[in-house]
Amino acid sequence: MSSNQFDQDKISRFMSNESSSEEANEVADFLSNSTSELDKILVFEKITNDEIISLTLVEKDEIMRTIIPSKVPKIHLWKKWAAAACLIGALSIGGYYILFQDKNDTGIQISTIQSKKLVDNYSRIEKLYSFPDSSTAILQHNASLEHAHDFLVNRTIHQLTGDVYYAVQKDSIHAFQVLANGIITTAIGTEFRVRNHAKNNQVEITLVEGKVKLSSVDVDFAMDDIYLDPGQVCFIDKTSGKISIDMIREEHVRASKSSVNGIAPSSVNTAGIIWTNTEIQFNKVKLENVFKRIESQYGLKINYVDTGVANSLVTGKILRSDSLETILKSICEINQLTFEINQNTIYIKRK
């Protein structure tokens, strides 16, 4: 094998994001220092017109302003944006919706305004996202959503695609809203799930806890406001105009069909865990299982004299930044237990 061929394999691996660290550093240095080699790598050259993902002019304007700030005061920019998007006394949400619903697609229209935060999940398992106000969303595979950066005052989420489960932080002043395929779900301190079946022109909203109001902002689809109670699921078919409200069954509540990594909504009826960036909430997990795992993984023994302890269910929440001791303390406090660590054994007793 000639040395040229060898280099080509390395380069090819690197460009496919499959290199080892050593190789990557080597190839990166090599390419950065040689313009001729750099030019040989085809990335942007071979994209066909069908493949191109376009942003609208308005979106590009926003991005351009982050590179070269405009000298025009901000309020004029807003007016310009509004005019450009042909809004007539409309909310930015409504106008945004119109942008997204452009039927004259030649390529894929992806709306990603720089002033909005885009969250997507193209991994194979659920993704947890924490909003700035500590509300959370669990995104299924191929789900995506967007929200403004001033989320603490403007809690409107545009759910672009897929299946997302929301847990809303209570804030009675700032309504939490999810816009999906022309239907707005308004909530205050709740847990609910929105499934945007955009392809079939259907939307499904499941309410686990709290209260939500559903309304239509789609000019082609009129609907009276709907108020859901906990335990109800509403299915809207915009093509047939049929709206049905049923009671939740198990499959509506579980956020994931595969039992992956224990992520489950913390509904009253379902045992499991909810992860966020800062904490772990657990709901009715058997203490015995918890102890067994701690034992085998830390190489410690856990001694619980009273067998009644082992079968109790643990419900509560812990911060991820805590040490093992703090965590044991939390688990014990919640369940009226005490613990003592003596050499390699943890002794747990009823208080």
Binding site: N17, V119, G272, V285
Partner: protein, 172 residues
């Protein structure tokens, strides 16, 4: 002659943005990352506008800038993989989480390192500097760099071990 004024830059931006964005998306599989990288590319183009040449095709120069940004990202990705692999070796558990989840965990954990140690660690593992280069850049001894990196790895293992443990514990 090197010259890129505001109006030419804007022209180039509007004309080439989509292609650059699409190229990044194809290589990274993430709209979010693609958006970031595209923005970085054009920011660099503007910042270093005095290096812009009127003798070489505009498109070529933009593609070159974009490729360099992509190469930086690919380098970081490879280094992150190595880091994750090293940390996973010493964890008491078999991981059931996907790599992208672990990456998020990792980034959160790195964020918790004390500032001086964090800087050294990021230079070593995510930016691909050698310990010698870091020592020179930050004006400290190589031994100090070694110590920082070692302590960082230990701390990260601990942080990740705990979260992975809990993750695993509460998995039914």
């Amino acid at each position: 002659m090197a010259f890129l004024d505001e109006s030419l830059f804007k022209n180039l931006f509007y004309h080439h943005y989509d292609r650059i964005y699409t190229g990044f998306y194809k290589k990274t599989n993430s709209l979010e990352v693609a958006q970031d990288l595209t923005q970085i590319t054009f920011m660099k183009l503007w910042t270093y506008r005095d290096q812009f040449s009127q003798d070489i095709s505009h498109e070529k120069q933009i593609f070159r800038k974009a490729k360099l940004v992509l190469i930086d990202w690919l380098r970081k990705e490879a280094n992150q993989r190595k880091l994750i692999a090293e940390i996973q070796q010493n964890l008491p558990l078999a991981f059931t989480t996907s790599t992208s989840d672990l990456k998020e965990e990792l980034n959160l954990a790195i964020d918790k390192l004390p500032p001086a140690r964090k800087k050294v660690f990021i230079m070593a593992y995510l930016e691909g500097y050698s310990h010698k280069e870091i020592a020179e850049e930050l004006n400290i001894s190589v031994k100090t760099v070694d110590a920082h990196v070692l302590k960082s790895l230990q701390q990260l293992r601990k942080l990740l071990a705990l979260t992975s443990l809990l993750f695993f514990i509460f998995n039914k």
